[in-house]
């Protein structure tokens, strides 16, 4: 039952100039980073390229790797951390087709409750910090921040707790701090009066590229024109997302359950319009530094040549 054939094999599409594949199934995570895809869909950028897009909700690429390998999913939203870890595992060669968000102040951070005895980062020593998944962005960026304050990753305990449950755990006191992302940070501040203890996208991790649309290297080799068409369409949408906050506010509530009001007030990263291997190399180096990957990964192997 395992095969590597895609859903619909190449047939010259009406709108697309000889695309190898026109129907794509995209794995999306219901977070703001997926917004450009929905903007592109809504504005007809895909249609203009001759692409027909269907989406499937996923949480992270690791659990759905089989689907990615056997062609059930063509491209998907992934964090660079996942991209690099997967590459490091040797299971698949993945490449970023287009970047989505880049770090900006207030998008990720460690929060503590209003009356927490933890007043500054170094008070975290010996404490439990909730992260959404183990061995991922949370651990890396928090570790990088702790390093400035003289703490090693082993000085704290990272506990896996889904984002949605972290606020209650924080309130219940089962964890001392939580590494959160938006819209949870806003919610923590609003509901619990929580304090943002560390902005984990500042200092050594400032402007860290966060995530983007990836696929396998094999897929790009097999469907080069399709890949390019996808990149063009998403590129136009990135442009809109980067410049028009209204557009984002409008689209986010359509594919997430973030209420419109929260969507318009929460912090959002920068939507980048290019793929920059040097920037990505910072992520790979951090991962290697904190021993989440075993090998040093060369970032240039992780990007698909951007189309023009």
């Amino acid at each position: 039952a395992c095969g590597s054939s895609g859903t619909d094999e190449a047939k010259p599409a009406a709108g697309g100039a000889g695309l190898e594949k026109t129907k794509l199934n995209i794995g999306v995570v219901p977070v703001p980073s997926s917004a450009p895809l929905f903007i592109a869909k809504e504005k007809g950028f895909f249609k203009a390229e001759g692409l027909e897009i269907s989406t499937e909700t996923i949480q992270a690429p690791q659990p759905v790797m089989p689907k990615i390998l056997n062609g059930g999913i063509d491209a998907f939203l992934t964090s660079y951390v996942s991209l690099i870890t997967i590459t490091d595992s040797g299971m698949a060669k993945l490449k970023m087709l287009a970047e989505s968000q880049q770090g900006a102040p207030g998008v990720n951070g460690v929060v503590v409750t209003k009356d927490s005895p933890i007043k500054e980062p170094k008070d975290l020593k010996g404490k439990k910090i909730a992260v959404n998944t183990v061995k991922a962005l949370g651990e890396v960026t928090v570790s990088a921040q702790l390093k400035i304050h003289g703490l090693a990753p082993s000085d704290v305990t990272f506990v896996p707790v889904p984002f949605a449950d972290q606020l209650t755990q924080l309130k219940a006191g089962t964890v001392d701090a939580a590494w959160l992302t938006e819209p949870y940070i806003s919610a923590a501040q609003k509901d619990l009066g929580a304090r943002l203890l560390i902005d984990t996208l500042s200092g050594p991790t400032e402007n860290l590229p966060l995530d983007g649309w990836a696929t396998t290297a094999d897929w790009i080799t097999k469907y080069p024109k399709t890949a390019a068409a996808f990149q063009r369409a998403i590129g136009k949408a990135q442009q809109i997302a980067a410049t028009d906050r209204q557009e984002l506010n409008k689209v986010i509530p359509t594919f997430t359950q973030i209420p419109a009001e929260a969507a318009s007030t929460m912090a959002i990263g920068t939507f980048s319009t290019s793929l920059n291997a040097t920037r990505i190399q910072r992520v790979a180096d951090l991962l290697n530094e904190f021993q989440i990957t075993k090998n040093k990964i060369d970032a240039t192997t992780l990007v698909a040549a951007p189309s023009q």
Binding site: P66, P160, V161
Partner: protein, 263 residues
């Protein structure tokens, strides 16, 4: 000697399956299906290559395996006690059964991954959470089977008790429990395996150690052989626990086999 040989002979299916597995995985070369030889090598390296002084357990095993097993045993035992007591009580009282059964059937249908965070707010992180999760997840089949077993005791057994004025307590321990025991044991047997499953699930959230946690890490690192070692380890544990369980059951249900055998 002969009994040992004949007992082992019944395991013939294991080598057959192992060989078939090895051959087919080698042929298929699928990333997700490493051959068993690779898995076993990894299993040995990861968990059992420690010093003889530690019964060959590695530090990794001591850190992840032992706490998991401890929680498994305590959680399972606790769940069985709670579930048999509750099941028999509900099975013997129509009122209690009617009042509580909607709640029971409600809670047993809620996926534990959705409830574990709620438990966590009450228990905090660590062993109490895992124990709660194991007890919660494991109880249902035992509860349901004990309830059914206690409810459908042959009427004449109960009438006999009543006629001879056998006290409630003795009626329970000497008649209802034995009469329900075939069903209760079916529930227990289901629960042994379920306890292993809940042990893993409970370590997926809010845990920093244990086989489940190790598996989670392996999954996020896409370390397929290590994922498989956890699977194989679970299988072996299940096999061993089940064998122990059957031995216990055989001891307790001797009468049942005698009374139910045909030539």
């Amino acid at each position: 000697m002969k009994t040992i040989v004949s007992r082992i002979a019944w395991l013939w299916i294991l080598p057959v399956v192992l060989v078939a597995w090895e051959v087919s995985t080698r042929a298929a070369q699928a990333v997700y299906f490493p051959p068993p030889s690779v898995i076993l090598a990894r299993l040995h390296e990861l968990w059992f290559s420690g010093p003889a002084a530690h019964v060959f357990l590695t530090d990794e095993a001591a850190h992840h395996l032992l706490p998991s097993l401890g929680r498994l045993v305590v959680g399972w035992a606790g769940a069985c006690l709670v579930a048999i007591a509750a099941g028999v009580a509900l099975g013997r009282s129509a009122v209690l059964c009617d009042v509580f059964s909607p709640l029971i059937h409600f809670f047993r249908s809620v996926p534990p991954p959705l409830l574990i965070p709620i438990f966590m707010t009450m228990t905090g992180i660590g062993t109490p959470l895992q124990l709660t999760a194991i007890v919660f997840g494991v109880s249902w089949p035992v509860l349901l089977n004990s309830l059914d077993g206690a409810r459908y005791v042959d009427r004449q057994y109960l009438e006999t008790c009543e006629v001879f004025g056998i006290s409630r307590f003795r009626r329970l321990t000497r008649v209802i429990l034995p009469a329900a025991s075939p069903k209760i044991f079916a529930g227990l047997r289901i629960s042994v395996a379920l306890a292993l499953i809940m042990m893993i699930l409970s370590e997926f959230i809010g845990s920093t150690e244990g086989i489940g946690y190790r598996m989670l890490v392996a999954q996020s690192e896409l370390d397929v052989p290590t994922m498989w070692t956890a699977i194989v380890l679970l299988g072996i544990l299940g096999f061993v626990l089940n064998a122990a369980f059957l031995r216990f059951e055989r001891h307790v249900l001797t009468w049942h086999r005698g009374a139910r055998k045909t030539d």
